[in-house]
Amino acid sequence: ELTLILKVFLALVLLTLSGSLQVLLLVPLCEHPFLLCSSESAGEETALDLMSVFLQCPPRSQQFRCHLLVALTSVLICSSCAGSRSRASLDFLDLLLQVAQDTSDHHGDSSPLCLRNTAAECLREMEASCPGLLSQRLELLGGLRQQETSRLHQAYAGLQVLVLRNAVLHLTKESGAGAAQLKALLGGPSCADQDVFQMDANDPAVQASLVLGPMGRVPTLPTGPDCKELRSILSSLLEESYLLSPLCQAALLHRLIEVVAMAPGIPPAIFRAQLLRLLGTNQVALLHVTLLMKCAFTDSLFSAEDEAFLLKRLLVLSQHPVLSASERLFYMDCILHFPENRPISCGDSDEALPVLLTPQLASILLPTVLNDSATLLARLHLQALVFLEDGEEEGGGGLAYIYDLLGALLHMVDRGGSRDLVVTFFRAAFLFLLYFHHVERYSARLSQQLCQLYLQHPLLAPHILNLADRTQDHLPESDWAVGLLQGLQRAITGAPGGQLTLPDLSCHLKVLSRAAEEGNISPCSTLRFLSAVFTSSLLCSGSNWCLGNGVLGVCRRVLLHPSLDSLFGPLADVLLHLACNYGDSDIQDHARLYFSLLTTLSREKLSAVLQGAAEGQVKKRALSCVMAESEGLTNALSVHQTDRAVLRLTEAGPGPLQEPLFEQLFSIRLHFRLTDHHYHPLPDASVPLLHRQRPPPELTLTLQPRRPHPTTIRVAAIFTAKDGLTWHSDMPDLHVAFQQTFLPLPVPSTWSRASRVAVFEALWEEAESEAGVWAVSLFCCQLGEAHLKALLQTHFLPFLLSDSSLEDGFRVLWFLPPRSHVLLKISREDDATLFKMATDDRQLLPHINDYLLEVTSTAAIRQLGSEPEHRS
């Protein structure tokens, strides 16, 4: 069952002497067990092998043994052996427990500690992935933790609390479970009515976090107030939590929160003694788990004063100078998801301001231009929410402050800020508009300032258009975007045209084209601008294809504009000018087309034609049409990759394809890649059309062998689908069988049978005399008379030289291009059939043998008629 690669791997692990190399070899097993042990049986076998390596390994190579345990854990979990409690995984569990308990200090150094630590960590991972696996060992694990005085108690604490959590969770799902069952569980495996837990590891709810907040429902265990044992375990874990690293402390507390949430008999006040220490911490993970604690227990652990204190603490931490930027940003995120004692909204992913957050308190987080961009935006977002809540738009200092900030950013962008600054400014502007677009005095000014900015920096066009699009998407009721586009149009068309440069002009065309999409913006001035530009030196004899397309793009939008009737003259002028004078014939053609559409079609037809083209598939085929739509460029011009093969080459009639991704395929280009050097490379092949409703076209592939061996050819196809997109798809490999290289004796068709046999006999004679060049061999099998006939009929007919048996058998000759021959004399002796063969290419012998085995195999014969007796 094991793949070859895995076998080689394991052999290497065993053989390699150097420790570091062995460790390196284990890395793929740890990181990619899905690939190496894809089946349960492969995982099982690998695990058994690795375990025997572990047992043979001398105790002094601790590092390697630790890595082995990690690799074993990964293999067993990922191949689902652990989930199904396979033999190897249970053995491994025993091994881990044994290692974890082995306190004998072999060498007086600290390395056994490392091994035991790793073993405990592996046990924890096994339990995490297969909840309930260790439930029966709770008492043992508790004992281990309590007795341990070295640093190892940390690993045991993490293990114990996870097993405890999973066991309690299991009990909550048992009907009728209560205090007695809990007591039995904590008391150890002695209790007879306890089965090994088989929690469904595939049930994601078991592994998911149970800290859900007041709106979530945590399953509970009706224990009543009597759960002394559980309480004493929890207290002891909490007492020693101080001794753990902050990361382990946070993880331990998280698990304890879950246990207490499930056991109503334990009051959350059990955590109270730890709270002050946690609230004052400089560790982000510890404060975070305190917030989760508040989320789970709300006012049963945190008073209103605590809540106010915690919020202030978060505000302070969000800008504390000794914390890192990412920690401060994280705390700011926590403010927007503050776990309130009495939350108003229940959406779990909605951002909402805490009720207690006043503008006064929030002012500590006012953004400034000196902030880094992430901080600036996060603060701006927070302030915007605060001001909105506070009714600031009525006129207060807050909004003015934010607007000043925007102004300062805009000024910096104007002075040539970096890309990051530009993006930050536009995001800030969008945030501002999102919340305050209705405050006319600011939004109108922003629009004006953006227009001025654009005139100075036309290269900002994509950013400005993006802002316009986004505000339109998110604020459909606002006409701010239209106002901005109108302002931009006015600014561009009103500016003195004298010093226009080419790049500026192409940006302007983009903006004008976008503005022309708006029915409320009259394209009059746009057309005036275009005519004016033509008379300038830039365009009059221009031959820049891209620029021409830019102009065409604007014209195209104008053609669709509701006020087209009043624009007829100016638009026709522009198109005519392009058609007659532009230096690129493609542009001329398109202009002429638009011109004739404009002059011959009614409005309704015109928009139907253009709109239809815009929605249908026709337009994306040609690059110039793509250019006209310029925005979807990347999509149309890139090659898309299919997930699976959508077509295949078949030799005979077509088999059914999988559920079709495509109905029709066009311009299919097949590319062939050889996997060896036995054949000359195949040129690409083209198929114009493939339609599901029509019979598949036939394609002739001419293979030119260098050596007539079987081979595999990789095939890929590039094609265009109905939607105009181009796709790349790998196709199933094409296999060329050995027998497909056979050709009959290459002699003129006029030759008589006798002459052919004569050639055969001459060659045979040569073969028998010149043993150096020719190789002679024998294949025999038990094949009845009838079967032999059938075989000859089915497989050998084109190559058969004699239709009835000569005294020493049938003559068959295969010519294998370019220059090899195989001669067969097939005869029956007693009840065996003999295939005497001679070939001038001895490398073909194994292939011939395989082929004969195949055609005389039981299955092949069964197809011919009935069972063969025996083969040798």
Binding site: S129, S245, G280, K312, F330, L377
Partner: protein, 489 residues
């Protein structure tokens, strides 16, 4: 609470980027698969991940152009967790990334809340765990002292597999790497009854020594403008190095303030502090300090780890900045007339380790003729000819006031550095200073207040220091960048 994968990436300003180390945690991935169900998104190949992350962080080649997936103005909180758009509609989230110098450290925390919509970052403990681990690894990789050469990096990256075996063998971070080894040799614990803290690798043997250092940092923004309030703040950190015998020895450090000192606020403590008084925690910079606020003494009982650590940090609202400056520029034809005065407040000790003022000039030609006079100290022009360095030495004169006056011509042949903020007359002076044996808040640790419960008499060393950071004095004749604090009343 676990991570699915971890990456360490090096680059040179976006060029030659490569994944130096990566680790996928297969068992966590296995769990994630069942948690995520149909919304499962696999971890991309390293090369693919690298490309996506660089693009998202704005470090890839297409830096200049508008990239719709990255530069869209639609606001989504991007930090500390970024979202990477994979093929199709799938996205990889939450990717935590810390970037410092030539290194980017990134990890992908496990989302253990199955939900249709994306759960808030704040509900995933794995996020703060991941941030902590990344910061710890960053400190480890840079621990040679800030500068990172390729050899140092190679050696540290080579040590990662065995390091991760200790601190994160299966994707659940257990600890962060130890940075800064204990100064004195330690012995492993032998049979003792007391449990050894997991954050302590051994035991100290020898004479007990406790070293406590208080370092205060002052930041300031001065505008020299009636309409804009000057800003300054002070924060302090208390660093300890304790060599004390015993598994869990008790040490108490007490910070005290002078009689009229402003209270310490926003106190954060190291996790080794065993207990805290509520009054220590409640003082916050959000509250208006009144006379009734708790003003010490601040007692911190703790059991020290072996390596040096930051016991606590605080902020303080001091009534005045240590140096009040005024900066005035007047544009003349191709030159600037400069007028600077700096006044040291009388409460501050006039004895510096160093004090210097930097006057950078942006968006102008290089300096030509520099004709300035100073009442004290000495002025140099940097080699690049774009800024003045005014070294004020160890002491201000008796008047506690120094001035700089003169004219700078920008007649150099080539363009100096550019800056989008400092255009026109927007300009600043940056002050760098260090004053030993003083703090602005007056906070100090008395040698006799350090209690060590030990049989031998401990050696106790305490020190104080004041330094500056981001201390800016803006030109009052030009528009200064806006800053927080002046609008709310």
């Amino acid at each position: 609470m676990s991570l699915r994968a971890l990456w360490i990436i090096s680059h040179e300003k976006g060029e030659n980027a490569s994944v130096r180390f990566s680790r996928r945690f297969a068992t966590v991935e296995h769990r994630y698969k069942s948690l995520a169900g149909s919304s499962y998104v696999s971890v991309p190949e390293d090369s693919n991940f690298l490309q996506l992350l660089l693009t998202e962080l704005g470090l890839s080649r297409s830096n200049k152009n508008f990239v719709a997936a990255r530069d869209d103005c639609l606001y989504r909180p991007r930090s500390p967790a970024v979202e990477l758009c994979l093929d199709g509609k799938k996205t990889l989230w939450p990717v935590l990334a810390l970037s410092q110098g030539p290194l980017i450290l990134a990890c992908l925390p496990l989302v253990d809340i199955p939900s249709e919509s994306r759960p808030p970052l704040a509900s995933l403990l794995s996020v703060s765990q991941g941030l902590t681990l990344l910061a710890g690894l960053q400190a480890f990789l840079f621990s040679s002292g800030g500068k990172l050469d390729n050899e140092g990096l190679v050696a540290r990256v080579a040590a990662l597999p065995s390091l991760l075996l200790q601190i994160c063998p299966l994707g659940t971070p257990l600890d962060i790497p130890l940075v800064g080894t204990p100064a004195t040799p330690t012995v492993p614990t032998s049979a003792v009854n007391q449990k050894q803290p997991a954050w302590k690798t051994g035991l100290h043997r020898g004479r007990p020594t406790v070293n406590v250092a208080v370092v205060e940092t002052v930041r300031s923004m001065q505008f020299g403008d009636q309409s804009r309030q000057d800003l300054w703040d002070v924060y302090g950190t208390v660093t300890c190095k304790c060599e004390v015998e015993g598994v869990l020895p008790n040490v108490t450090v007490t910070l005290s303030l002078p009689h009229n000192g402003s209270p310490l606020q926003d106190i954060l403590v190291h996790p080794c502090v065993t207990s805290l008084d509520l009054s220590i925690l409640t003082a916050s910079s959000l509250d208006n300090a009144d006379g009734s606020a708790f003003s010490g003494p601040y007692k911190f009982p703790f059991s020290p780890p072996l390596e040096p650590f930051r016991l606590c940090s605080y902020t303080s609202q001091v009534p005045v900045p240590p140096i009040l400056g005024s900066y005035q520029l007047k544009e003349e034809e191709n030159s600037l007339r400069v007028n600077v005065s700096l006044k040291l407040h009388e409460s501050v000790k006039n004895s510096f380790e160093f004090c210097e003022a930097l006057l950078p000039f942006f968006n102008r030609n290089q300096m030509g003729n520099v004709d300035v006079k100073v009442s004290s100290g000495q002025v140099d022009v940097t080699k690049e000819k774009n800024r003045l360095i005014w070294a004020l030495g160890q002491k201000f004169p008796k008047s506690r006031e120094v001035t700089l006056e003169g004219k700078i011509t920008f007649s150099g042949s080539s363009q100096g550095p550019s800056d989008p903020l400092c255009t026109g007359l927007t300009a600043y002076i940056e002050l760098h200073l260090k004053v030993p044996d003083t703090t602005l808040s007056g906070c100090s640790v008395d040698q006799h207040s350090v209690q060590v419960y030990s049989s031998a008499k401990p050696k106790i060393i305490t020190s104080r220091e004041l330094q500056s950071k981001d201390y800016f004095i803006w030109n009052s004749t030009g528009p200064a960048p806006m800053s927080s604090g002046q609008m709310m009343t």
